[in-house]
Amino acid sequence: MKLTETLTDLANPTRFLALTARILPWLAGVTAILLAIGLYQSAMAPDDYQQGATVKIMFIHVPNAWLSMFVWSVMSVAALGTLVWRHPLADVAAKAAAPIGAAFTFLALVTGSLWGRPMWGTYWEWDARLTSVLILFLMYLGLIALWRAVEDPSRAARAAAVLTLVGAINIPIIKFSVDWWNTLHQPASVMRMGGSTLDKAFLWPLLVMAIAFSLLFVTLHLAAMRNEILRRRVRSLQMMQASRVTFASEAGAGSRDGSAPKGAA
C-alpha cells in the first residue's frame, strides 16, 4: 500500500529532524557571531583609493553573489540525489533551497546596482556580470513556479531536478554568451568591480562575511528543510484522515441517515 511506503520513508527524515533540532541553535549562534565580526571589520575597513567608501557595498554584494551560485550547485547535487539515488531528503533539500537562493540572488542584484549607481550614473547597466545574475534570478523564479505548479511534491521533484541540472549545465553557456554579447556592444569595459588585486585590508572582512553568509544559508536551509518535512507529514496525515472518513462513514451510515437535514426547511 502506498501509504505505508510514505510512512517508512519518513523514518529517515525523522532522524534528520532530531539532528536538526540539536544543531540549529548552535549554527544560528555561530552565524550571528561571525556576522557581527564581519560587519565590524567591514565598518572598520579603509576606503578604496578609487571607489572611496562605496567599496563597503562589496562586503555584502560579493557574499550574496557567491551564494547565488553556491545555492544552485547545492540544488544540483540534491537533484542528482533525487534522480540517481532517490534519496528521500534530496528533493526536500532542493525545494527548501530554491526560495533562499532566489532571495540571495535578488540581494546580489540590488546591491550590485546600488554599487554601480555611483559609477554608471544609472541603477542598471546591462553589464555582463549583473546580467548573468539577473538571468540566474529568473531561473530561480521559474524553478519556484514549477514547484508551486504541481501539488504532489514527489512528482514535482523529478521535473524540478531535471530543470535544475539542465540549468547547471546551461549557466556557463549563458555566462559565456552574455559576456560575448556584452563585449560586442561595448568594447570598453565600463568598470571593473573589485579589481584584480585586492588589498589585504579588504580581503579579511570579505572572507569573514562570505563565511558568515554561507553559514547563514546553511542555518536557513536546515530550518526550511525541517518545515518542508513537516509539511509533507501534514500532507500524508491529511490523506490518511481523508481515507479514514470513508471507513468511519461505512460503519455509521445507517445511523447517519436520520441526521440528514430534513428537506422541508
Binding site: T122, L138, H185
Partner: protein
C-alpha cells in the same frame, strides 16, 4: 451580489493557491522584457526610447497567455454548467471572472512595471506614465481576451488559437497605450488625448466583453 462576490473570491483564491497561475504571468512579463535587450543590444539610450513599447508588448502577451484557462478549467470540471444554470446572469458572472483574473494576474504586472522600467533605463516620469497607461489599458486586454477564452471553450482548443483570435482585437489598446506613454515622455502630443481614448476603449470592452463571452458560452455548451 453576494453570488458575484463569492465567484470573485473563489477565483482569486484558486489563482493564489498551489497550482494557480497568478504569479506565472508576472514571471513571463519579466522574462520577455529581459530578453529584449539581448535582441536590440544594451544601448541604454535606445532601450529607454523603446522602453514603453517593450513593456506594453510584454504586458499584452503576459495577460493574454494567462487568460487561456479562464473558462476551460471551469468547463472541464463541470462548474461552468452550474454557472450557466444559476440565477446570476451569465454576463455578470463572466464579468466577475474577468475581474478576478485581472486582480490576480493583471495588477501584479502593473506593480512589476517600475522594476522593469529601471532595467530599461526609463526615468521616473516615463515609468509612471507606462504604469498609468497599463492600469487603464490592461482591463481592456483582459475583457477582450475573455471573448477568446470563451471561444476556446466552444472550440475545444486553447493556447495559440486564442492568441491568434484575440491579438488583432487588442491592436487599438496597444496603439493608444504606447502613444499615451510616448506623449508623456517626449511629446509632442498632450498625454490626455490618447490616454482618454485608452480609457474609453477600456470602458467599451467592459461592456462588450461580458456580453460576447456569455453569448459564445451559451451556444458553445453541449
Amino acid at each position: 451580489m453576494s453570488a458575484l462576490g463569492a465567484l470573485i473570491r473563489r477565483d482569486i483564491r484558486i489563482a493564489l493557491r498551489v497550482g494557480g497561475g497568478a504569479l506565472i504571468g508576472v514571471l513571463f512579463f519579466l522574462t520577455v522584457t529581459v530578453l529584449m535587450p539581448f535582441a536590440v543590444g544594451p544601448d541604454l539610450a535606445l532601450l529607454s526610447r523603446l522602453g514603453p513599447a517593450i513593456l506594453w508588448l510584454g504586458a499584452l502577451l503576459a495577460s493574454l497567455l494567462t487568460l487561456d484557462r479562464l473558462f476551460t478549467a471551469d468547463h472541464e470540471d463541470g462548474s461552468l454548467d452550474l454557472i450557466v444554470m444559476s440565477r446570476t446572469p451569465l454576463e455578470l458572472a463572466c464579468a466577475a471572472k474577468a475581474l478576478a483574473h485581472w486582480i490576480a494576474a493583471g495588477l501584479p504586472l502593473i506593480i512589476a512595471t517600475p522594476v522593469l522600467g529601471l532595467l530599461l533605463n526609463l526615468d521616473g516620469t516615463a515609468t509612471l506614465a507606462v504604469a498609468a497607461t497599463l492600469l487603464a489599458g490592461t482591463p481592456a486586454l483582459t475583457f477582450t481576451g475573455m471573448i477568446g477564452a470563451a471561444l476556446a471553450v466552444t472550440l475545444h482548443r486553447g493556447g495559440l488559437l486564442l492568441a491568434v483570435l484575440v491579438l488583432p482585437l487588442s491592436i487599438p489598446v496597444l496603439i493608444f497605450g504606447v502613444a499615451a506613454s510616448q506623449a508623456a515622455i517626449s511629446g509632442p502630443l498632450p498625454f490626455g488625448t490618447p490616454f482618454s481614448i485608452l480609457c474609453a476603449l477600456s470602458l467599451a470592452s467592459l461592456v462588450i466583453g461580458p456580453f460576447a463571452a456569455a453569448a459564445s458560452l451559451r451556444h458553445g455548451l453541449d
